[in-house]
C-alpha cells in the first residue's frame, strides 16, 4: 500500500451512536424486540438481500481460506489436486511451515528484518509528530496556521516522487542499503499524516486543562508529558496501528532502500512469486507467516483502527 490517504469524513461517524439514542430522548426506549421489528422493516429484508450479503461474505472469505488450507497440505498434493479436495481426502502436514522457517525458502531473517524495520518506523514518527502537533496546537507563533496547512498539503506527495532523490541523498550520506535509510524513509512518509491526525486529537483537549497546568508553573515538557500524554493514548494507538500496518505490509520502500541482507518479508515473498511462482507450498506458508502478525494486531486493536480511519487516517 502506498502512502497515506487524506481524511475521510471526520464529521459523520463520531456522533453516530450518541445521536441515535438521543433521538429517542424523552419517549420510552423501545424494547429490543420492538427495535428489531422496526429495523427489519427498514432493512432490505427480502430473501434476495440476505443471499447477496451471504454471497459477498463468502466470496470475500474463500480465497484466503483456500490458501490457508493449502499451506497445511503436503507439497505433492498441492501440485496435483485443488485444496477443496481436503473435504473428501483430508491430509495435513506442517512441512511447508517447517520449510519456510528452517529450510529452503528461509524466511526467518526477512521476518527478523521486518520486525527490526517496523518498531523504530512506528515509534519515531509518533514521537516527532506528537511534538510537532503540540507546537501546532498549543504554542502560539507567527505563521503557525500557514505552516500547518503546508504540512497537511504535503500528504499529497506520492512516495514515488521522492524515491530517486532520496536514494541519491542516502548514497551521499553513506547510508545506502542499511536499516537507517528504511527507518528514515518510513518516518518521513508517515509524518504529515501523523501530525495531522494527532493535531486533530490534540485540539479536542480543553484549553483550560493546559492553562491550569501553566499557571501552576509547568513548562512545555511538563504540560506535554503530565497533562497531554495520558489523554492522547487512544489517538496514539489509532495512528500507531496505521503506521504499523503500513510499514509491516510495505513493499515499495523496502524494495527500493533495503539491501538484500535487510529486506523485509514482503519483498522476499514478492520475489519468490517471481522466481518460484509454482512453489505454492512455500508461497502459501510464507504468505501466512507474513500475515499472522498484522492480523493479530488488527483484530485485537480493531476499534482503534476504525476510529483512526474515520478521523481521517486512511492508509491506502
Amino acid at each position: 500500500m502506498t502512502q497515506s490517504n487524506p481524511p475521510a469524513p471526520a464529521s459523520v461517524p463520531a456522533a453516530a451512536t450518541e445521536s441515535r439514542s438521543a433521538a429517542h430522548g424523552p419517549t420510552r426506549k423501545l424494547t429490543r424486540a420492538e427495535q428489531r421489528a422496526v429495523d427489519a422493516k427498514n432493512r432490505l429484508s427480502s430473501p434476495a438481500a440476505s443471499i447477496i450479503a451471504i454471497v459477498i461474505a463468502i466470496v470475500w472469505t474463500i480465497p484466503t481460506a483456500g490458501l490457508l488450507v493449502t499451506s497445511f497440505r503436503p507439497a505433492a498434493d498441492i501440485r496435483r489436486t485443488g485444496w477443496w479436495t481436503v473435504f473428501t481426502n483430508p491430509e495435513f502436514s506442517l512441512a511447508n511451515y517447517e520449510a519456510v522457517l528452517t529450510g529452503s525458502g528461509d524466511l526467518v531473517q526477512p521476518f527478523v528484518n521486518t520486525i527490526v524495520i517496523t518498531l523504530p518506523s512506528v515509534i519515531i514518527p509518533i514521537i516527532l509528530a506528537l511534538l510537532a502537533a503540540y507546537a501546532f496546537a498549543w504554542i502560539d507563533f507567527k505563521g503557525r496556521d500557514l505552516l500547518f496547512v503546508a504540512v497537511f498539503a504535503l500528504q499529497i506527495v506520492p512516495i514515488q516522487v521522492t524515491l530517486i532523490p532520496l536514494l541519491t541523498q542516502y548514497v551521499q550520506f553513506g547510508l545506502v542499503g542499511t536499516y537507517w535509510t528504511v527507518w528514515l524513509s518510513h518516518t518521513i512518509f508517515g509524518l504529515p499524516l501523523a501530525i495531522f491526525l494527532l493535531h486533530n486529537f490534540m485540539r479536542e483537549i480543553p484549553a483550560s486543562l493546559i492553562e491550569a497546568a501553566r499557571v501552576d508553573g509547568a513548562g512545555h515538557v511538563r504540560v506535554f508529558f503530565q497533562v497531554l500524554m495520558p489523554l492522547l493514548v487512544p489517538a496514539i494507538a489509532s495512528f500507531g496501528i496505521f503506521q504499523f500496518l503500513w510499514v509491516w505490509n510495505d513493499l515499495l520502500v523496502g524494495l527500493t532502500f533495503a539491501s538484500s541482507d535487510y529486506r523485509p518479508i514482503t519483498v522476499m515473498i514478492a520475489e519468490m512469486v517471481g522466481s518460484r511462482g509454482q512453489a505454492w507450498h512455500v508461497l502459501s506458508a510464507g504468505a501466512f507467516v507474513a500475515m499472522i502478525v498484522p492480523l493479530i494486531v488488527f483484530l485485537s486493536l480493531q476499534r482503534f483502527f476504525v476510529r483512526g480511519m474515520l478521523a481521517g487516517g486512511v492508509k491506502g
Partner: protein, 326 residues
C-alpha cells in the same frame, strides 16, 4: 562501528534497532531540555518542537519532489535537458498508452465497484444480529499486505491445462460448469480486470466501514418520517439512505481512487506488469529501476502526482462541505 551499518546476526540487528531508538530518544530529550526554559522567547520552543519534523519533511518530501520534477525534464541518464520530451513519449508510445489505459480502468473501476459493494453490504448487515462479525470478514483484507492479497488471488487464478485436475478455484468452477480453463492473468486486456478485482477485494472493507458509520448517523426522525410516507426497503435505500450519505460516498470514492493510483504492489507481484497489465505506479518502478530510464521514470512519478492532485483538492473541499453541514 561496522555493525551499526551492517549487522550480521539476529542479535546484532536487534541491538542496532535498540540503539537507533535510544539515540533518537536521547537527541529529542536534549532538544526538549534545551528549549524548555521559560526565559527563552516563544519561537525557540516552537522551533525545538517543530524543527525535527519539519526538517525531515523538507529534506525528505519537499526537496525530492522538486528534484523529481526537474529530472522529468532531462534525458534518461539525466545528462541533458530535453524539455517535455519524456511527457511526449509517455503520451504517444504504444507501451505507455497501454499503461495509461490500464491506469484509467483501475481508477475508474476500483472506486466504483468497492464503494457500491461496500455501501450495499453496509446497508444489508446494518443492525442485524451478526453485524460485527459480518463486517470483520469484509474488513480483514485491509490488514494484510497487498503482496499477501496478490498471492491469495494468484492462487485463485491458477491455471492447469485442460484434462489435468485444476488447482485454482476459479478454473475449477469453469470446469465444473463445463467450460474451458482460462489463463486469467495472461490474456490481455481482460487480465487487467482480474487484477482490479484484487484491489476491489481490499478496498471494499474501507468503503463499507466509512459508509456504515455514515448510515448510522442518519437521524431516526428522518427514517421514521420516510416510513410514515410509506418508504421502506428499496425506496428507503434510494430516496433516503443514498442521498443522506452522499458526501461520505464522494469522500470514499476519491480516497480509494488515490490509493489505487499509487498502489503498484498488486501488478508487480501478480504479473510484474507483463502481458499489458502495467499501470503508472508500476511502470514508474520498472522504468526507473529496471531500465535505468531516470527521465521517463521521473515523468511518470510527476504524472502520478498530477493525477492525484485534483482528487485531493476535491476530497478536501467535500470534507469542508460535510463539516459545514453539521
Amino acid at each position: 562501528m561496522d555493525w551499526l551499518m551492517q549487522p550480521d546476526t539476529t542479535i546484532e540487528k536487534f541491538l542496532v534497532m535498540l540503539f537507533a531508538i535510544a539515540l533518537f530518544a536521547l537527541v529529542m530529550a536534549a532538544v526538549l531540555v534545551l528549549v524548555d526554559r521559560p526565559s527563552l522567547p516563544r519561537w525557540v520552543a516552537a522551533g525545538g518542537y517543530l524543527g525535527p519534523a519539519l526538517l525531515l519533511i523538507v529534506m525528505g518530501l519537499l526537496i525530492p519532489a522538486f528534484m523529481t520534477i526537474r529530472n522529468s525534464l532531462y534525458n534518461n541518464s539525466l545528462s541533458e535537458f530535453v524539455g517535455l520530451e519524456n511527457y511526449v513519449t509517455i503520451f504517444t508510445q504504444d507501451l505507455f498508452l497501454t499503461v495509461l489505459r490500464n491506469t484509467f480502468l483501475w481508477v475508474l473501476l476500483v472506486p466504483l465497484l468497492s464503494t457500491a459493494l461496500g455501501l450495499v453490504y453496509a446497508v444489508l448487515v446494518d443492525r442485524t444480529r451478526f453485524e460485527k462479525f459480518a463486517k470483520t470478514l469484509i474488513f480483514l483484507p485491509m490488514a494484510i499486505s497487498m503482496v499477501g492479497a496478490s498471492i491469495i488471488w494468484k492462487f485463485v487464478y491458477e491455471y492447469k491445462a485442460k484434462g489435468v485436475p485444476q488447482t485454482g478455484l476459479l478454473n475449477q468452477i469453469l470446469v465444473w460448469m463445463g467450460l474451458e480453463p482460462q489463463q486469467f492473468l495472461l490474456n490481455a486486456p481482460i487480465n487487467t480486470f482480474y487484477l482490479i478485482i484484487v484491489m476491489v477485494w481490499i478496498q471494499t472493507g474501507f468503503a463499507m466501514t466509512v459508509l456504515s458509520a455514515a448510515i448510522k448517523a442518519i437521524p431516526d426522525e428522518t427514517i421514521e418520517a420516510a416510513n410514515v410516507d410509506g418508504a421502506t426497503g428499496m425506496r428507503l435505500f434510494w430516496q433516503i439512505t443514498v442521498p443522506s450519505v452522499r458526501s461520505a460516498i464522494i469522500v470514499v470514492l476519491t480516497t480509494i481512487a488515490m490509493a489505487t493510483l499509487k498502489a503498484f504492489d498488486i501488478v508487480r507481484t501478480m504479473t510484474g506488469g507483463q502481458f499489458d497489465t502495467s499501470i503508472v505506479a508500476n511502470e514508474f518502478y520498472t522504468q526507473t529501476f529496471g531500465r535505468q530510464a531516470q527521465g521517463i521514470g521521473a515523468a511518470l512519478a510527476v504524472l502520478l502526482f498530477v493525477l492525484v492532485m485534483p482528487l485531493i483538492v476535491y476530497n478536501v473541499r467535500q470534507m469542508r462541505i460535510s463539516e459545514g453541514e453539521r
